[in-house]
């Protein structure tokens, strides 16, 4: 086993990896940019190395500096976390060349699954179903033929696209010509290329993914699904296992699991990976892409399977065989995760970095937090707004939802804005509780709901607290009529004497 591992990442995932390393008795090396000197992962690691200025292109993405740090500290392996260099085939190859183990799949597997089109080819070759489409710039005539062959609705997309620009859903053939013209000119303006391709439109799809895990000796299992349909700006915000849909149709777990393993095997995959599927309303599932790394939302899989995925990743990278087969994988209870972001959900989810002035975290039965924040820390404005992942486990989905609501109520992050209150609204939503999820859920949610309207008594208490606070600030005497408080130092001294 390794004696020392470097974590080429920051924030909550670096903290998550350090925790397992410590439990395994392996030394940890953190890397940090200028902005992250006081970050939790640096304070928690056994060793730390500065790798550059705050912009990630000059620090966390610098392969040369990360490898230098690993050599300097004598790390035998590198855990890439997620994001940054985790899906960079050149980095995986550079580690190998430098004689350092990359805790993940081979550079070749990353290449085969790295781009959407390459992954789609690999998956098709492995027999996976993909959303039917043309995959290349198409003429109006080609699109018309596609619509006749596959049926409507169809979705026009810009070849150079992203972010919804140049995207048009078409319900009927008579609307095609004008939609094609509009999509094409919008794409031209946005990306400088008018090229359009077409896909079958899947209405209200679910996003369900399968965790796979393989060793370097050809063994591979799946660890079940995670439903990640609750998204904003195409980013997941709530994930759960089991998926409410799969809970109703348990045969789906096996079918999707088998399909995921076939696709991963086709890429010669080992270590942890995730195969993402879109699921339509007839419960047909289509290969979307493969993430060749640990996922943000891996804790819910850990909660229901009782496994430590990071430990398994490290053991596999060190050459171990999978310690169990598919029959030994068991799922128990229900887990939900909320991604706590520094953002304002009622103002277009705009980011909200800044200093955390006070932090109270939920505790108690079935609660897990993977976070990196502390009271007094200034959340940097340079990186992703993810502050922490709040995950709960309970015997069934209803109990897990109740537990999540309870935990959210205990959670207080002051000084910045977060989406904690927004999660409470979603968890209380009847559609969510009924498990009727799809990727457009949040947009529809905002059509159904306004920002929460607090009970009148809460407003009176808030007004009272604000008034008392203002009076104490303005020197109208302390809010306590019992007189000035003794200094904390005096109090500490007194209680020491009483010991």
């Amino acid at each position: 086993m390794f004696r020392k591992v470097l974590i080429a990442n920051r924030g909550e995932i670096a903290v998550r990896v350090i925790r397992t390393l410590r439990e395994m008795g392996i030394g940890s090396v953190a890397v940090y940019s200028d902005a992250d000197r006081a970050s939790r992962h640096v304070r928690m690691a056994d060793e730390a190395e500065h790798v550059g200025p705050s912009p990630s292109a000059e620090s966390y993405l610098r392969i040369d500096r990360i490898l230098d740090a690993a050599k300097k500290h004598g790390a035998e392996a590198i855990h890439p976390g997620y994001g940054f260099l985790s899906e960079n085939a050149d980095f995986a190859a550079a580690c190998e060349t430098a004689g350092i183990v990359f805790i993940g799949p081979s550079a070749e597997s990353i290449r085969m699954m790295g781009s959407k089109t390459a992954a789609r080819r690999t998956a098709i070759a492995a027999g996976a179903e993909v959303v039917p489409g043309t995959d290349h710039g198409s003429t109006l005539e080609e699109v018309r033929e596609f619509g006749r062959a596959h049926g409507y609705p169809i979705l026009l997309k810009a070849v150079a696209g992203g972010g919804g620009k140049g995207m048009r859903g078409v319900e009927r053939e008579q609307d095609l010509e004008s939609a094609f013209r509009n999509a094409s000119s919008e794409a031209e303006r946005a990306f400088g290329s008018a090229e359009i391709y077409v896909e079958r439109l899947i209405r209200q799809p679910r996003h369900i993914e399968i965790q796979v895990l393989g060793d370097r000796h050809g063994n591979m299992v799946h660890l079940g699904e995670r439903e990640c349909s609750i998204q904003r700006r195409h980013q997941k915000v709530i994930e759960e296992c089991p998926s409410p849909l799969v809970a109703l149709h348990p045969e789906m777990r096996h079918a999707m699991g088998e399909a995921a393993i076939r696709a991963a095997r086709a890429a010669g995959y080992y270590n942890a990976g995730t195969v993402e599927f879109l699921v339509d309303q007839e419960r047909r599932f289509y290969f979307l892409e493969m993430n060749t790394r640990l996922q943000v939302e891996h804790p819910i899989t850990e909660l229901v399977t009782g496994l430590d995925l990071v430990r398994l990743q490290i053991e596999i990278a060190a050459g171990a065989r999978l310690p169990f087969g598919q029959e030994q994988v068991a799922w128990r209870g229900s887990a939900i995760e909320c991604r706590i972001y520094a953002e304002d959900p009622y103002n277009n989810f705009l980011p909200f970095p800044g200093k955390i002035t006070r932090l109270t975290r939920p505790l108690g039965p079935g609660v897990r937090i993977d976070g990196c924040i502390y009271s007094g820390w200034v959340v940097p404005m340079e990186y992703d707004p993810l502050l922490a992942k709040l995950a709960v486990w309970a015997g069934d989905r209803e109990a897990a939802a109740q537990r999540m609501l309870r935990a959210l109520r205990e959670y207080d992050v002051s000084g910045i804005r977060t989406n904690l209150g927004f999660f409470r609204q979603i968890l209380e939503d009847a559609e969510f509780r009924a498990g009727r999820l799809h990727t457009g859920f949040i947009d529809e949610f905002f059509e159904r709901h306004r920002p929460p309207h607090p009970p009148a008594d809460l407003a009176a208490v808030a007004a009272l607290a604000a008034a008392l606070h203002t009076m104490s600030r303005n020197g109208a005497g302390p809010p306590q009529s019992g007189g000035a408080r003794p200094s904390a130092w005096l109090e500490a001294g007194r209680s020491d004497l009483l010991r």
Partner: protein, 165 residues
């Protein structure tokens, strides 16, 4: 003591008749109420009212106070009517709009200069945080009076980027 309040945009007033801990207070013209108040740590108010227990967290921001209770947020500005404040004076000044940053971040572009005429909806400055850019726009047409925003500077939420007459 009487205070004028703006709670989430709505005007109200409160009178503290007896200070904490055995507090008596009156909101607007409604009936007098009692509440037992403790301050376990600075900025935290434990309030017992009508047999119910509330934990109110108060934080100070450039725009005023933010009070959180049970996950609900109240943006509150409290003013002593006997004191003259620049804020209330500015509030009174007719026709001046202030363009404030809606999020903390870094000013990446300033798009106007003092003396410029701007249209309603015209971009005033671009603020960036966590890889997202947000353009602050003029609500109405007018003439730019001042531009405190500087490119490259860090701003807090609610910080004034420009004033327009």
């Amino acid at each position: 003591m009487k205070l004028l309040l703006t709670i989430n945009g709505a005007e109200d007033r409160i009178e503290i008749l007896t200070p904490a801990p055995a507090c008596r207070f009156q909101m607007g013209d409604s009936a007098e109420r009692g509440a037992q108040v403790e301050t376990p740590e600075p900025g935290v108010y434990s309030v017992l009212m009508d047999g119910r227990s509330y934990d109110a967290y108060v934080e100070e921001t450039p725009a005023g106070l933010v009070v959180s209770i049970d996950g609900f947020r109240f943006e509150i500005e409290a003013r002593d009517p006997r004191r003259w404040s620049r804020k209330s004076a500015r509030r009174g000044a007719e026709g001046i709009q202030t363009i404030a940053s809606s999020m903390p971040g870094k000013v990446v572009r300033v798009l106007v200069a003092p003396g410029d005429s701007v249209e309603a909806g015209q971009g005033i400055a671009v603020v960036e945080a966590m890889k997202m850019q947000n353009e602050m726009k003029a609500a109405r047409a007018g003439k730019v009076l001042s531009v405190p925003a500087k490119e490259g500077a860090t701003v807090a939420a609610g910080e004034v980027l420009a004033t327009i007459e």
